[in-house]
């Protein structure tokens, strides 16, 4: 359980795993856009697939697939969900 509480960045998430957004350390327009797409603290998000060179990564958020660059995803902090916790 303690392990599951660890805070990671979204870009470290492995394929297929679920997490919950904790905070966004982005600023300006990019922050605004990410928030407008429904990625806000508390949102559940799943890592779906990665581009050929490992970037960008597609995430499932509120029923929509959204691709983020890893440099941007690295600024978004998440709490990994352990098996059995509510999923996306």
């Amino acid at each position: 359980m303690r392990d599951a509480e660890r805070i990671n960045s979204l870009s470290d998430l492995s394929l297929g795993s679920d997490c919950q957004i904790v905070s966004l350390e982005l600023s300006g327009l990019l922050r605004r856009r990410i928030l407008d797409l429904g990625i806000v603290p508390g949102t559940l998000i799943r890592c779906i697939r990665r581009g050929p060179s490992g970037d960008p990564t597609a995430y499932m958020v509120r029923g929509t697939l959204i691709a983020l660059r890893s440099e941007d995803a690295a600024q978004i902090f998440v709490r990994k969900l352990s098996n059995g916790e509510e999923c996306v």
Binding site: L29, R32, R33, D36, L37, G38, V61, G63, T64
Partner: protein
């Protein structure tokens, strides 16, 4: 540009707002009988298309705004949509939502609610939602949002009569929505309280003072520029900058 859209006497103007790719242009075509180009990709409507239809012997000028996720960021589309909603003062704003991803779409609806109370929510793509086994409790949604909610499947022409009827009722004032307002943290609300009396002078009864005050707190330069352009209030906005600076200095 679009704000100079000739509005004839006795004609109601209706703005269509919504996220990209929710079927605004399809609704536009269905209402007007025009063939504005529709396509299944975002950003298709970059400027505004306009058309006219009649209902109950009244003429309605309908404006198809570019699709946006928000009115707060600063892409060209967002500025066009925001400036139209804020400064062209449409008689009715129809927010078109994708019934299959309601959660993400409601963000824009709540933003529009802060600008105007003459709002109707159009829940489009109901056919797609049904295919996905989604059931939407429209009366509850209506109650939660405080505005009329009309479910449509514009491609099949479903729900459009109801939409026309509601547009007519809101435009003529026989139906007065009271859209749900977001309450912010007490810090923000206190700052708003302080700003509101200053803003009300320039709001001129057409713009929501609360919306202006919120954008001022945002430090939204793009909105300030539009505000002084359209309302010709350079003087007032400079005073605000002074006010802001003095606040920041404190």
């Amino acid at each position: 540009m679009i704000l100079s859209a000739e509005k004839k006497n006795n004609q109601f103007t209706v703005a269509l707002a919504g996220n990209p790719n929710v079927g605004k242009s399809t609704i536009f075509n269905a209402l007007t009988g025009l063939h504005q180009h529709t396509g299944n990709w975002p950003g298709k409507t970059v400027d505004n298309a306009q058309g006219i239809y009649e209902h109950q012997k009244k003429s309605f000028l309908i404006v198809d705004l570019p699709g946006t996720y928000s009115l707060l960021a600063h892409t060209v589309e967002e500025q066009i949509a925001r400036d139209y909603l804020c400064f062209a003062n449409p008689d009715v704003t129809v927010v078109v939502l994708d019934a299959t991803c309601l959660e993400r779409n409601l963000n824009l609806a709540l933003q529009v609610f802060e600008i105007t109370s003459k709002v109707i929510v159009c829940l489009n793509l109901m056919d797609e939602a049904t295919k996905k086994d989604l059931v939407i409790d429209v009366p509850s949604l209506e109650r939660e949002l405080g505005v009329p909610v009309v479910a449509t499947a514009a491609r099949q022409g479903k729900g459009l009569f109801e939409l026309r009827k509601k547009i007519f009722q809101v435009a003529s004032g026989s139906l007065q929505p009271s859209p749900r307002q977001i309450k912010y943290s007490s810090d923000v609300e206190n700052a708003l309280k302080e700003l509101l009396p200053l803003v009300e002078n320039i709001a001129n009864n057409t713009l929501s003072p609360r919306w202006i005050a919120l954008r001022l707190l945002d430090g939204d330069q793009s909105f300030l520029r539009s505000l002084s352009n359209y309302l010709d209030i350079d003087q007032a906005s400079f005073q605000f900058q002074d006010w802001e600076e003095s606040k920041c200095a404190q």
